[in-house]
């Protein structure tokens, strides 16, 4: 079975230690987590993990089974890229003088649909949200001018199909 990129979504109680428990499931199988994001979900007091891994479908099924088994996990799902809407965010910190000395930077910003979030005397910051490839492309274009700092977030994603967590929680009450 071939490796693929899978996005695992976990709905859980918001409890100390659960992140450790979930990451341990990957550790135990020697699977590297490509990205991890934890935030509130659409339901009050329910957290949502978005975990991206590169593995086989058999393994991802197994992992999702083990994740769901954790007491504080409400439900876990996995999807391939085609089944989700997903993006990442990135910030680029660049020297302010380049904005005037290297005029093509302004064109790069426009063409890439990124935005300048702040400008100060010494530096300015570009924010870009999108697919990994778009962020990488922007990174490649800005790199020759010198990037002072770069950071990219983990993937966030929503599924195209329904994830009926609210009804599940109602049933349980």
């Amino acid at each position: 079975m071939e490796n693929k990129t899978f996005t695992i979504s976990v709905y859980s109680e918001n409890n100390v230690g659960l992140l450790n428990r979930i990451s341990g499931i990957f550790l135990k199988r020697h699977i590297n987590i490509l990205s991890l994001n934890v935030s509130e979900s659409e339901i009050e007091n329910v957290s949502r993990f978005i975990i991206v891994v590169d593995t086989t479908e058999k393994w991802v099924k197994n992992i999702v089974g083990q994740i769901e088994k954790q007491i504080e996990v409400i439900k876990a799902f996995y999807h391939v890229d085609e089944e989700t809407i997903f993006l990442e965010s990135a910030l680029f910190k660049i020297q302010s003088n380049l904005l005037f000395d290297e005029r093509q930077i302004q064109n790069i910003i426009k063409e890439s649909h990124s935005e300048i979030v702040t400008v100060s005397r010494d530096f300015f910051v570009i924010s870009k949200s999108g697919k990994r490839s778009e962020i990488e492309e922007l990174h490649a274009k800005l790199k020759p001018f010198g990037i002072m700092q770069f950071v990219r977030s983990g993937r966030i994603s929503v599924s195209k199909s329904k994830m009926e967590i609210s009804t599940l929680l109602v049933d349980l009450k």
Partner: protein
Amino acid sequence: MKITGAEAVIRCLLAEGVDLVYGYPGGAIMPVYDELYKFQDQLHHVLVRHEQGAAHAAQGFARATGKVGVAIATSGPGATNLVTGIADAQIDSTPLVCITGQVGKHLLGSDAFQETDIIGISTPVTKWNYQITEAHEIPEIIAKAFYIARSGRPGPVLIDITKNAQFDELDFCYEKCTSIRSYHPKPVLNLQKVQEAANIINNAKKPYIIFGQGVILSEAEEQLKALVEKSGIPAAWTILGLSALPTNHPLNVGMVGMHGNYGPNVLTNECDVLIALGMRFDDRVTGNLATYAKQAKVIHFEIDPAEIDKNVKTEVAVLADIKEALTALIPLIDKKSHDSWHNEFKEKYEIELDAVINEELAPTNGKGISMGETIEMINKHSNGDAIMVSDVGQHQMFACRYAKFNTTKSNVTSGGLGTMGFALPAAIGAKMGMPEREVVAIIGDGGFQMNIQELGTINQTKVPVKIVVLNNEFLGMVRQWQELFFDNRYASTVMVNPNFCAIAEGYYIKAKKVTQREDLDAAVAEMMASKDSYFLEVMVEKENNVFPMIPTGASVSEMRLS
């Protein structure tokens, strides 16, 4: 009513029906021990000699009784010493609640004296764990701990309580936990799946049942027996399923797995329908998965969704408590017998008798006492009514292969983790849990020395366990592998042993050593008749091997008889 957190811990245990706990005191758990002192007429605390012993004793208690075992330890080394027992309970689905003391909340994360991150350490080996830092959390969390430990697929729970939470006061009110919104321990039985399973079973020509500990954990032994008898299907057991069906039942065909019986293994690859009841297709059961039961339709009755299709692809999966599922299944099953198919098991057993069993139970050529004949001698004197607690290694395989059991929850052994040192403390727990039953620990000379300090617990409590050490002066199982797969290079498997009887006698336990076959019968008789604890050392043939055997990576159909 305002009480301290420490008193609340005791009141919670009492409310859960606990009257026996195993533990070892220390700084961070002293407030709880102070309350144990005050409540000693209601809650009996057994002082072990090492916290690992407390965990294994709680396991032995749980396995023999079906109740939740409780172990208590202090912070730091007290807590980390529990970990092996917790890991063992996790892989063998044993319900435990472990309570550890922790440094005060204000000291957490400061590398304080005897501080260790036991939550972090125990996370991968617990079903659930939680650190209590405020006294008011105690009743709710301990209620959850018991509920989680015993429900669904049981397992160990660790509750870490900071010292301030033990000292502080709370308004005590205890309510048992009956549900947690994110936790669904008992799947809803899908009757459609049961019908599908029944249809396949009724149309099978060579159906075959393998049952595991799930049957024991859900107390479905009567249903298993009824299913086997109505359907006429031969049934084999995993090491943890042993004793769920009496060993002398005509349709009980023996043990599957690496050192199981010949027929049950090779015929796995000849059945047309494989009915797995509360077992998880461990690698020691399946051998090479690529060649395991590929010809068979597999029906898996299992309570843990994560086990379905984990190792073996199923035709029908019935996700449910086994007792409930079998109760629904039995009326749908046709009354049948499968005599010619059953005969194939009998034929294979004849082959195994000739090649292995006869020689093991009555060695020829002047060979010394065998482990198998010692187990057979214990059978003779226990009549199959004893609880047998085995350690890990060759003697464990002999004990499980040859022991006779009439009743369930009689075979207590470390299956999944293979923890040497398990048996002595586990036997203490089993005997205290089932005082009216005879409890015999079967231990190798290696494993005995891994928790030998628990002889002290036996001496102090006078718990009348019978201890049999099968001494071959080797770490026998590893030696066997060295002989078979490492060209006889006996790397660090030779044991130079102490005078075990003198050690036992040092703990005021009656002891006897047998070196000659003709003395074995009388010695076992004397041990079984003893009202007190008894230590019996049997010097066995040094380089015997356990056969049959499925070598690692081989198929079940390639089981070796020699």
